[in-house]
């Protein structure tokens, strides 16, 4: 698990207004089943941290993640859901590239992508196009 080091406040503690970004290599969730992956992700999100995941979730896992976050709205104070966006390296649709990607996907999972997931109370909006993502964060 790799975490970005954060500057601690005068007391040496992480304050409520500090922003924490959790860098998650795909290997951290690769062996988990869908429920395990969602539990791990939601555990971090509920601590008001933003996850930068190396790779991406499968579409059914994303749907389950949305379902799961919906069940928590109203049950966890202040939780409004999540913001999620994936920037995928699938722009080159050449046949050899697709075969290579397919083989890599089977062997090591979908790593040719970056996914950002954050609590909606922290990440106001993620705008994306095929080449970039921009995060708009809430003032805390």
């Amino acid at each position: 698990m790799a975490k970005k080091s954060v500057k601690k406040n005068r007391n040496g503690k992480i304050g409520k207004k500090d922003l924490l970004i959790h860098f998650m290599p795909y290997s951290e969730i690769a062996r988990e089943d869908t429920i395990g992956k969602i539990k791990k992700i939601m555990g971090i999100i509920l601590k008001n941290r933003i996850i930068i995941l190396q790779g991406k979730l499968k579409s059914d896992e994303e749907a389950r993640l949305i379902e799961n976050s919906m069940t928590l709205i109203g049950n966890i104070p202040g939780f409004q859901g999540i913001e999620i966006a994936t920037l995928s390296g699938e722009n080159d649709n050449g046949i050899f590239r697709r075969i290579r990607q397919g083989v890599a996907r089977i062997l090591v999972g979908e790593q040719d992508a970056i996914t950002i997931i954050g609590p909606a109370s922290v990440v106001k909006e993620i705008t994306r196009d095929p080449r970039k993502m921009e995060l708009m964060l809430s003032r805390r």
Binding site: D60, E62, A63, M70, T71, G74, Q80, G81, E83
Partner: protein, 213 residues
């Protein structure tokens, strides 16, 4: 809880008593993309009645709505549809967003709760569709993760998809951007509100039905 059981029973029985040849056509997309507007337009064209209420306030549709026995005819072909209008899928629901539309705090909180349940229902219903129309608001950025997640799930389930870029009557709309975002899919631009380009839509809809298993 009762609502979930009722919806589950409805799904179960709709599967058991599925009439032969009937096509279950789902309408999916983000809130306010125009799913109910398009479903209403189709119902008006073929039945002369509406399917559901539309509103500028997001999450107006918070329960699955259906219209059975919608029979469409085109070039001598007759297809019976069951139209299934689903609540808009979003990754977040904040009751405070509804306050801006003049709803009271209590009404907003109730709407937010129902909206979250509606989103869960929409996702569950993905398995039950024969074909799906994904509505995208052509005035907004089409690269939304919700659109990508919905389409990804449909492709994984081998459910044929038609992408409809709605609101092309508005100046801000950009159908080229929608087509650029989903180059592997057929994209039809329409205005469900005004009925613009519905001929092309029906043409593509009939092609879509041919693709289903």
């Amino acid at each position: 809880m009762i609502k979930i059981i009722r919806n589950f029973a409805r799904r179960l029985f709709s599967g058991i008593f599925k009439s032969k040849g009937e096509v279950k056509l789902g309408f999916y997309g983000s809130p306010n993309a125009g799913k109910t507007s398009l479903a209403n337009r189709i119902c008006q064209d073929w039945l002369g009645e509406d399917l559901g209420n539309v509103s500028k306030v997001p999450h107006e549709t918070r329960e699955i709505q259906m219209k059975e026995k919608v029979i469409m005819q085109r070039k001598g072909k007759k297809i019976e549809f069951k139209l299934i209008d689903t609540p808009g899928i979003a990754t977040k629901v904040d009751f405070e967003d509804f306050l801006k539309f003049g709803l009271s705090k209590k009404e907003s909180q109730k709407r937010a709760k129902e909206a979250t349940q509606g989103i869960i229902e929409s996702i569950k219903w993905l398995d039950d569709m024969d074909s799906v129309i994904v509505l995208i608001d052509a005035t907004l950025n089409p690269y939304s993760q919700v659109n990508i997640t919905i389409i990804g799930n449909l492709v994984a389930r081998k459910i044929p998809v038609l992408i409809v870029a709605n609101k092309i009557d508005l100046k801000k709309s950009d159908i080229k951007k929608v087509k650029g975002a989903f180059p592997e899919y057929t994209v039809v631009g329409i205005s469900a509100k005004n009925g613009t380009n519905m001929e092309e839509f029906y043409e593509e809809l009939f092609k879509l039905i041919k693709k289903r298993k």
